[in-house]
Amino acid sequence: MAEKTIAGTQVKVTEDGYLEDMTQWNEEIAREIAKEIGIELTDKHFEVINYLREKTFAKEALTIRSVGKSGIVDIKQLYALFPKGPLKFSSKIAGIPKPTSCI
């Protein structure tokens, strides 16, 4: 665990750069994490991000498949928004824990 300043806010992050505490998140932090990854956030990105945060607050596990059924985006659109890491990058930007693949 480490402290890091993102968009002027001091936050706790994991080794991989995921926020430790999702309540420390704000939209500016999201934009800056996205920029590091190389993604410019649009309203559609935020719709997905808010969905991920809601589900995480409700303690529901997230999968690419379940986001694809959310009614916000299908899986192809999710890939288009967050290339190379649809769930990994979107989770990082949303300030929620790294998705665990249960295996």
Binding site: A61, T63, I64, K84, G85, P86, I103
Partner: protein, 410 residues
């Protein structure tokens, strides 16, 4: 007379039946078990069928062989569970009342959920080895295979026995070498995960092992469809990989019955308390094995360890006591790696697989995260243990809770 009903007579359900049958007072409890199939498959053996190591008769026995006397057995598909009324509806209209219910309906493969998978190449050039039919069809195809691209693809999580695809490519590599055609076969391991396995230390060890065997790993590949015309698998971000033979873990989901009963998550796995193994919705419903949405492996070893916890908790619940036992997600997997060797991993919800010895610290005889002949013997021996000890609910000399003794922290 009170009723205990067990749904599913696979590994987990049969094991619980035998354990509880020994514990419960027959004057007080009637036990009923329901399953739609009469044959019990030794599923870990499916992996060996494509290579002719096991034949069909090595992996099947009648389910009746494992049911103790005095238990009611019903062979029928299940329509749904009505938790509010403590009733199970069977297809055909029969209704079972229960005081306690154990759900052990497992996980199934659904190849039809991936476009192009169950199409004209299905069981010709595309196979699963999670069913007896698939494993036998693959055996026939491999016999005549003279070379080309063999692709193993994992399209979705979770799936039954997470190490099986790694074992498959290792055994295939050894099989082709033995047949003298290894140099004519490209083996590719394609996964939606970021590496050969999820947990970092095991992923590294298993990734290195595959590299040594010249098996190519393609990570972060999320399968969208199979192109039957050009024999390619295509991902959502439009990566394409050619195959001559495709072996696949079809998407796994829980029973449709769970959905009809409104007890599951979006993959039809029963929402289960990961420590107590009680349903999140009903106090008199417990869940064991692959049917539960526990964040650990879907594997027989997990069902075995969870079985001891479930037994303590359900007996307490029956007597109105608080639930005493907590499951830690313990899993223990032998990994066949070919050439008479094997690896072993032992882990739980919080501790990832670590190197060391098992079960005795410093002695073994099994090496954790090591590729040894002794581990292979463990796997071979396991078939006997499965039929004679595990299914019959007898004790094994391994603790249900994972132990850190013998493991090295990294």
């Amino acid at each position: 007379m009170k009723n205990l009903v067990i749904l599913g007579a696979g590994t987990a359900g049969t094991m619980m039946l035998n354990k509880l049958n020994k514990e419960l007072d027959k004057n007080e409890w009637k036990i009923t078990i329901v399953d739609q199939h009469k044959t019990h498959y030794y599923q870990p053996g499916f992996l060996f069928i494509p290579f002719g190591i096991y034949k069909k008769h090595d992996v099947i026995k009648p389910k009746y062989d494992f049911f103790p006397a005095g238990v009611d057995v019903i062979f029928s598909p299940i329509d749904k569970i009505l938790g509010e009324e403590n009733k199970v509806y069977l297809e055909g209209g029969q209704v079972l009342n229960y005081d306690f219910l154990i759900i052990a309906t497992g996980t199934q493969t659904y190849p039809s959920l991936t476009p192009g998978l169950k199409d004209k190449l299905w069981y010709k050039d595309i196979f699963d080895f999670y069913t007896i039919e698939g494993a036998l069809a693959l055996h026939n195809r491999l016999k005549d295979f003279e070379g080309g691209d063999l692709v193993m693809c994992i399209p979705e999580l979770p799936y039954k026995c997470p190490v099986a695809p790694i074992e498959f490519v290792c055994l295939a590599e050894a099989y082709f070498k033995e047949r003298g055609i290894r140099d004519k076969v490209n083996i590719t391991y394609v996964t939606l995960m970021s590496g050969a396995f999820t947990k970092p230390i095991a992923s590294k060890m298993l990734g290195d092992l595959l590299e040594e065997k010249n098996i190519k790993v393609v990570p972060d590949f999320y399968l969208e469809h199979v192109d039957n015309e050009n024999k390619k698998i295509v991902s959502y971000d439009e990566q394409e990989i050619h195959f001559d033979i495709l072996t696949i873990v079809p998407v796994n989901m829980g029973s449709e019955m769970i959905k009809r009963s409104s007890l599951g998550d979006d993959m039809n796995y029963v929402k289960t308390n990961k420590f107590t193994l009680q349903s999140d919705q009903f106090e008199n419903i417990f869940v064991i094995g692959d049917a539960a949405n526990l964040p650990t492996s879907k594997a027989g070893s997990v069902a075995h360890f969870a079985g001891e916890i479930l037994m303590e908790n359900i007996l307490a619940a029956m007597e109105g006591r608080p639930l005493p036992a907590k499951f830690d997600g313990h899993a223990n997997c032998y990994i066949e790696t070919g050439y008479g060797k094997g690896a072993l991993i032992d882990f739980n919800y919080v501790t990832e697989p670590l190197p060391g010895t098992f079960p005795l610290p410093g002695i073994g005889p099994f090496g954790l995260l090591k590729n040894t002949k002794m581990n292979h013997y463990g796997k071979v021996l396991f078939r006997w243990i499965y039929w004679h000890i595990l299914l019959k609910g007898k004790e094994l000399p391994i603790e249900a809770d994972m132990s850190m003794a013998g493991k090295k922290s990294i």
